[in-house]
């Protein structure tokens, strides 16, 4: 459904390209992992797909096709119709991804308010349903709260609820578990897996944490300095890494034996 073809991205403020020609495909219903170190271009790629980097800040080349339609050439209105309906994003920091002075409920409904003509009661019902789907308890209570009254894990669930409420087909998850502690991390990963299965929603999962990617993704692409150096089935990439960079990355995963010395 999503296909990136020979994408180049260069910031106007920089003299080299942040993304230097990558090809990437995300099929219907799969969880694609995009891994790489900081500055390897993985977030820039995601932001391009989401349409968050406008042409006044970057120079681009190549194509980003959603169902065969080029998002880079789409005009503003068309893109807005796509965003939120077909593509949604979950950010790394749940605290800053929510408006601090708006109650949770209206924020989860935002997508519906922009894209549908549902009545207030219908929107509320869908929002509550989405919040139940992400395993929040007491949704009626949470609906009325402000972001600062919730914990980080709950906030990330709220963000996911806001992202899935209008049933997008592709979820971009930009390091959604990095800011959370390990137990919550595992729960969020389970949740993403379940949503992927139940809602038939593709996920492009961006992370620098190889263990997380290994648990979650069906396929994985490794980025290094703006290029994809390896791509394939998760098992294959982890067991028989081809590119030297991937081998080094995998060797760097801390294991129990290494820690014991």
């Amino acid at each position: 459904m999503l296909e990136i073809r020979d994408l180049h991205v260069q910031f106007h403020t920089s003299d080299h390209e942040a993304v230097r020609g990558i090809d990437l495909k995300v099929d219907d219903g799969e969880i694609m992992g995009l891994v790489g170190e900081s500055g390897s271009g993985k977030t820039v790629t995601a932001m391009m797909v989401a349409g968050l980097l406008q042409s006044d800040r970057v120079k681009t080349k190549g194509q980003i096709l959603l169902d065969g339609e080029d998002l880079l050439r789409a005009d503003g209105d068309d893109l807005r119709r796509r965003q939120g309906k077909d593509i949604c994003v979950v950010f790394q920091e749940p605290m800053s991804a929510l408006n601090p002075v708006m109650r949770i409920g209206p924020q989860v409904e935002e997508c519906l308010r922009v894209h549908t003509k549902l009545s207030k009661a219908e929107r509320r019902e869908l929002a509550l349903q989405a919040m139940r789907d992400v395993d929040l308890d007491d949704v009626e209570e949470v609906y009325k709260k402000y972001p600062h009254e919730l914990s980080g894990g709950m906030l990330q669930r709220v963000c996911i609820a806001a992202a899935i409420v209008s049933r997008p087909r592709l979820l971009l998850a930009d390091e959604p578990t990095t800011a959370l502690d390990v137990t919550i991390q595992a729960q969020i990963l389970e949740l993403l897996k379940r949503l992927n299965r139940e809602r038939d929603m593709s996920i492009l999962f961006i992370s620098h944490n190889l263990n997380v990617v290994r648990k979650l993704c069906t396929r994985v692409a490794v980025m290094e300095r703006g290029l994809i150096v390896e791509e394939g089935e998760t098992d294959q990439v982890f067991h028989r890494p081809q590119a030297p960079y991937t081998q080094r990355l995998i060797a760097a995963i801390p294991t129990r034996r290494k820690i014991d010395g």
Binding site: A50, L52, Q83, N99, M102, E110, C111, V114
Partner: protein, 267 residues
């Protein structure tokens, strides 16, 4: 700052402001005496139960005139703030949110307006438009736009880069919706005190304009107008100038305390 102290600011401020607001509202409908009725039998009467603030050189009741004056000053200041803030918020929102060329153009205009002292700017306006309280409102309102625009702009520029704004953008919200539904409520902690300070400046600016004789004209009375009137009788009717001056001081003190209290509350 302790909880109690900051509440004290707000409470004292609200008390003073409340009394004066009451006088101002009342002054629109009712005053103990007709504020411009002369009475030759009671010229220069000192404060008494009959005339709380005494009478002036024409035997007019100073308390009634202060009530009328406060309501005029109040009205002009409120309207000035409303005009300045409405335009200032829109300009600030546009420049801060979009940046780029719009920002450059509007902010240079802003700088140009700021470069003139506001009284001078108001003077130019009055000489173009003529006297009267509505022209004072317009003149001061325009002169005050930049101060609001600047504050709002910096807040919008700060919030523009935040993830919740990106997220709203992603969900397909329009720029207008993001600016006024998402960002604007977030800036209230900064805007509210600015409005209060702006109100104080408007009171002072109106008073100085009327004092200089380029503000409201008789039969309208405003505090500044009364101040210029009363200074000739400072020795024969000191209560006139004192009561008028004290009212201006209290009006500003009250609002400053409210502003200070609000600012503490916002932290």
């Amino acid at each position: 700052m302790s909880e109690r102290r900051r509440n004290l600011y707000l409470r004292v401020g609200l008390a003073i402001t409340g009394v004066i607001t009451l006088l101002a509202v009342l002054g629109c409908f009712w005053t103990p005496y007709d504020p411009s009725a002369m009475n030759s039998a009671e010229m220069y009467a000192s404060p008494s139960l009959r005339h709380l603030f005494g009478t002036d050189n024409f035997g007019r009741d100073v308390f009634s005139r202060v009530m009328k004056g406060v309501s005029t000053t109040y009205l002009i200041s409120l309207a000035t703030v409303a005009l300045g803030a409405a335009v200032g918020v829109v300009v600030g929102a546009l420049t801060g949110y979009f940046g780029g060329v719009i920002d450059d153009i509007l902010m240079r205009v802003n700088d140009a307006v700021t470069a003139f002292p506001s009284i001078l700017l108001a003077l130019v306006f009055i000489s173009l438009l003529g006297f009267g309280k509505y022209n004072v409102i317009l003149a001061l309102g325009v002169a005050f736009i930049p101060s609001y625009a600047r504050v709002v702009r910096s807040e919008f520029a700060r919030h523009r880069e935040m993830n919740y704004v990106k997220s709203a953008h992603l969900m397909g919200a329009t720029h207008r919706r993001i600016m006024f539904v998402h960002i604007l409520p977030n800036t209230r902690a900064v805007i509210l005190p600015t409005l209060v300070i702006g109100f104080n400046n408007a009171v002072l600016a109106e008073a100085s304009m009327s004092y200089l004789g380029i503000g409201v004209r008789s039969p309208d009375v405003s505090l500044g107008y009364m101040l210029s009137e009363s200074q000739s009788y400072m020795s024969s009717a000191p209560w006139y100038v004192l009561c008028t001056g004290m009212t201006i001081v209290l009006l500003i003190l009250g609002f400053s305390l409210v502003g200070e209290g609000l600012q503490q509350e916002g932290r």
